[in-house]
Point group: C2
Chain length 130, copies 2
DNA sequence: CCCTTTCGTAACCGAACGGTTTTGATAACC
DNA sequence: GGTTATCAAAACCGTTCGGTTACGAAAGGG
């Protein structure tokens, strides 16, 4: 139910054009032409993106005259962020140590009494910002 | 550069199977068979999901014997969360009041479906453009 | 040695995605 | 009333996605 919406929200956020549209709408509502202006794509393409964003609940739309104004709706973002909270401990400083200990503990029962022979079992590939 | 990685992270999170895999890995590393167990899909399908997650940097993998253990890497999640921070004010308490006031101010004779509000391009309440 | 377990890769398939061009509806302007 | 501006819908196209089946490599265990 709510999980399904997360699908749509994350899928919507996966496209850089749509994220840029959201960034634009964070500064205030805009019509389709205004939203399409920064992008080298056609107007129908932008309309499609808006339909995706609307389907994910990330924007709402209202017609005023011939124009259709889009407005940012942050509630789905709040839910997506809420989902991420469960993982925040994994990138917090305090967890790094706990994680190391826990991982070491979990590593043992897997292969009961085998000497850690071949290679580094689980190394920590720290590849920050290549 | 870094934006590209956000694409991959959000795209990876858009699939419920992959989110479930991450949830499982939050409890400790696991091999492919263990990760595949809860799902009614084939092992190669799970391998594909793992490859997507690895491509997004959300997991790292290491071989131990014939097994290949996956491990949660939360750094991309941190970056995705960081991206969301720019929008947090839109669902925060203080913004709700500001939004309500602004909406009331901008209210005009408009018939729309959801929010009965709109106006010409709003002024940015604060400047925090990503 | 063989044989099993574990897993990745390749080839394929249908559906969804992101884009296009074309067309049409509708409100606003002269 | 005719024209223009704004935008959505439809039809189409190439690519990606999520799944399958079939096969192969490689590490252990008997």
């Amino acid at each position: 139910m709510a999980v399904d919406q997360l699908d749509a929200v994350f899928a919507a956020l996966a496209d850089p054009t749509r994220r840029a549209i959201l960034a634009r709408l964070a500064q205030g509502e805009a019509n389709v032409a205004e939203l399409a202006e920064p992008f080298p794509i056609s107007q129908p393409a932008v309309s499609k993106h808006l339909r995706v964003l609307e389907g994910a609940g990330l924007i709402s739309r209202a017609a005023r005259g011939t124009a259709r104004y889009s407005r940012l709706e942050a509630e789905p973002l709040r839910r997506a962020d809420e989902w991420m909270q469960s993982y925040k401990r994994f990138w917090s400083e305090s967890f790094d140590k706990l994680d190391a200990a826990l991982a070491a503990y979990l590593r043992e029962p897997v292969e009961s009494h085998e000497p850690p022979v071949d290679g580094p079992v689980i190394d920590t590939p720290r590849e920050d910002t290549p």
